[in-house]
């Protein structure tokens, strides 16, 4: 790949090139505006709200993980504390009635930033493992405090409030989901653009440098520690905004917004989406929220599948979803992407069928082990059958074996097609 880049002649800067990066942002903005007209029912809007909040949070998280190389196991804390602070502002009465709701996320961000400044002061000394452990410890500490400091965290029942007491914003009181949607969408656009611009500033570039080679960055005269600290604080700010939007959307915050599970989920989302590209976490948040909504309705075991997918991603596709997509760019540049279609179909379709068969086996094992005694009927893929008879087991095993068998048989052809598609015409190895 590096050969090709070296061979490419240097492109002169074009006058209009500044407009080009604007196109995806424009599309995103238009899409955000018209989406509620396509998916009009309330549950769809609820899902989209959740998606948008997760996107902001995942992007903030990726400022650390992807751009700064810092792995945090306790990032939910900054979003959570920002959200709790906003909840208290909402409950504050006089102050809140003079404050339009759309301004509230700024306060959440500032609180998240404030906490990040305190924690970052000692946690950003080192990157890597040490940073990860400290983030875990601090995360656990603050999550555990939620049952002790009842005044702020509200103990076990959390803190709840009513967003409609705020100063009406041009007559909008945010009674309805759809109004909240546009508020969140506005903040999503704003924070995504700000985070993108941040990654383009010299500061953001230095974060990349410190991620890749802290020693060299120090020789160039930059303090790796301060660079990490600034990234951490910025990330805390945007995490706080996500927390504030959560408070506005759900009107309740509990210990669950702070704990390690939540931090783990955001790591999962970001990594599945892909940490190497700016749009990775966006993709991850969209896909994760959809899959979570769909799968968790279908099966009890969705956490199990998610675990498998996550471990497989780390092992085989460390670039995540975004990395997978961007892998195809060289083939696209060569105009040979189309040649991959048929080999893909031949390999991935059987693989998907095999995976479904394996999932059926897993579901059947689970049913046999854990269903109450006497309950032998189960429904899988719109078919109801007796899980204690041999036939469904045979079918599922057959589908699995045949699916993966075909995949193995056609995989070499795919590899060949892949190599061919990535080699310019007239050149052979």
């Amino acid at each position: 790949m590096s050969d090709q880049q070296a061979r490419k002649p240097a492109q002169p800067l074009q006058a209009g090139s500044i407009a080009l990066p604007m196109i995806p942002w424009g599309i995103a903005a238009v899409l955000l505006c018209i989406l509620p007209f396509i998916f009009t029912n309330n549950s769809a809007i609820t899902i989209m709200n959740q998606m948008a909040i997760t996107i902001i949070f995942a992007l903030a998280y990726n400022m650390l993980l992807g751009q700064g190389g810092m792995l945090s196991f306790g990032h939910a804390v900054y979003a959570g504390v920002g959200g709790f602070a906003c909840m208290h502002i909402i409950n504050s009465g006089d102050f809140f009635s003079g404050l339009p709701l759309p301004v509230l996320p700024i306060f959440g961000g500032l609180v998240g930033m404030w906490l990040a400044i305190i924690v970052g002061a000692f946690s950003t000394r080192k990157a890597g493992t040490v940073f990860a452990m400290i983030s875990l410890g601090v995360g656990e500490l603050i999550a555990a405090c939620s049952v002790i400091i009842v005044v702020f965290f509200g103990g076990e029942e959390g803190v709840s409030g009513d967003r409609t007491y705020g100063l009406p914003f041009f007559g909008v009181e945010f009674l309805q989901q759809i109004e909240v949607y546009y508020l969140i969408a506005f903040w999503l656009m704003l924070s995504a653009i700000l985070m993108y611009l941040y990654s383009r500033t010299p500061m953001g570039r230095m974060a990349n440098a410190v991620r890749d080679n802290p020693e060299r960055a120090e020789f160039l005269g930059y303090s790796a520690r301060w660079v990490r600290f600034y990234s951490f604080v910025a990330s805390g700010f945007f995490a706080g905004i996500a927390g504030a939007l959560f408070a506005i959307n759900y009107e309740i915050l509990t210990e669950e917004n702070l704990n390690t599970t939540q931090s783990g989920i955001i790591l999962l989302v970001t990594f599945l989406g892909g940490v190497g590209f700016f749009f990775g976490p966006i993709l991850g948040a969209i896909v994760f929220t959809l899959v979570q909504t769909v799968l968790s309705l279908q099966t009890e075991l969705w956490g199990f599948y998610l675990g498998i997918i996550f471990v497989a991603t780390v092992m085989f596709f460390p670039g995540g979803l975004a990395g997978l997509i961007m892998m195809h760019v060289p083939a696209l540049r060569l105009g040979k992407l189309g040649r991959l279609g048929v080999p893909y179909l031949k390999t991935l379709l059987p693989a998907a069928i095999g995976a479904l068969g394996a999932a059926a086996l897993v579901e059947m094992i689970f049913h046999v082990r854990h269903a109450p005694n006497g309950d032998q009927e189960m429904t899988l893929f719109w078919t109801t059958f007796d899980s204690h008879t041999i036939l469904p087991w045979g079918i599922a095993t057959l589908v699995t074996v045949v699916g993966f068998g075909i995949m193995r048989a056609t995989a070499p052809a795919l590899v060949e097609a892949w190599n061919e598609a990535n080699t310019p015409d007239g050149m052979s190895e």
Partner: protein, 318 residues
């Protein structure tokens, strides 16, 4: 005085249990530079395997076989998982073990369900060893201490007195040189990973009956183990021992003596607000030591990190 003695024993049990986990973890860390996030999950697997084996073959076979199975599993994870991820760097390795921890928890729920397993101490150990001023000490606790101490001495002996231990110690600091001398360093890594996870498995086998065998058990202990090795100093075996005992005693004593913040604040010269339930400081005034016992290790960790970032026994810039 008697109560202090009882607490000392209880704290020792907790501390030694923690040490069995943190010893393996810190050994793996100092060798490969990777923190095994799934370490406590192997501890959980040890308990579950032992429970399953004890149903068929009795407790003692469980104690023998479960750690072996866990060790083999651990070695397999290193060989086929970690070694593959290693090429991407430390952060993906950490993420991999994190994913593994999630997966193992889901797997345990998948196989054994969400409820606590009826895993109990063998009948032969279900008696009172001795009593201190009316507080009976069960024999099983003495047995736990006994096992942990034997393992610690064994580990120390292997690491410092045998040829294998010498090679391991050399491989810790100069893996390249050891490899050049003709030793199979990847195999040593795999072995250390296997032994480390097997130690966690032993801890699970003997802790399962006392602390309960349920899917959340890895999570409950996991983060405390990380805190332990941070406090002790990453990569230091002695540090892990001292920190484990420190945490064990600290939490036990905090739980059994009901120290109240109110008394401390009054002693410092503050006056308690009249209407305590309306005051913003009510949480501060009503804190008691049993309430915060579980977060004391985290507070200690933060303090250590601020004042001695390399831990109690860690090397500077480790």
């Amino acid at each position: 005085m008697d109560l202090i003695l009882v607490n000392l024993i209880d704290g020792l049990v907790t501390g030694l249990l923690l040490f069995m986990l943190s010893a393996g973890l810190t050994l793996i860390f100092s060798m490969m530079g990777v923190l095994n996030f799934a370490h406590a999950s192997f501890y959980m697997l040890g308990a579950y395997f032992a429970f399953q084996i004890s149903m068929a073959l009795g407790f003692w076979m469980g104690l023998l076989l479960a750690p072996l199975i866990v060790g083999v599993l651990g070695a397999g994870v290193e060989r086929y998982g970690l070694r593959r991820v290693h090429q991407y760097g430390h952060v993906p390795e950490l993420i991999f073990t994190f994913g593994l921890a999630l997966l193992i928890e889901e797997l345990v729920q998948f196989i054994w369900g969400k409820n606590q397993m009826p895993y109990e101490a063998p009948e032969i150990l279900q008696f009172t060893a001795f009593a201190i001023a009316g507080n009976s000490i069960p024999a099983y606790k003495i047995f736990m201490i006994f096992i942990s101490v034997i393992i610690f001495i064994g580990l120390l002996w292997v690491l410092t007195r045998t040829r294998v231990g010498m090679i391991i110690q050399a491989a810790l600091t100069y893996p390249k040189t050891v490899e050049a001398l003709g030793h199979n360093v990847p195999l040593i890594f795999m072995g250390v990973f296997g032994v480390g996870t097997a130690l966690a498995g032993v801890a699970g086998v003997i802790a399962g009956p006392v602390l309960g065998t349920f899917p959340g058990m890895a999570f409950v202990l996991g983060s405390i183990v990380f805190v332990t090795i941070v406090i002790g100093g990453l990569g230091s075996l002695w540090g892990a021992l001292v920190a484990s005992l420190l945490i064990g005693w600290m939490t036990t004593f905090a739980k059994s003596y009901n120290l109240r913040m109110e008394d401390l604040l009054t002693w410092l010269g503050f006056t308690k607000p009249e209407n305590i339930w309306d005051s913003a400081w009510r949480d501060l005034w009503t804190i008691t030591s049993p309430q915060i016992a579980d977060i004391l290790p985290y507070i200690l960790m933060v303090l250590i990190l601020i004042f001695r970032p390399y831990g109690l026994f860690g090397k500077r810039d480790a």
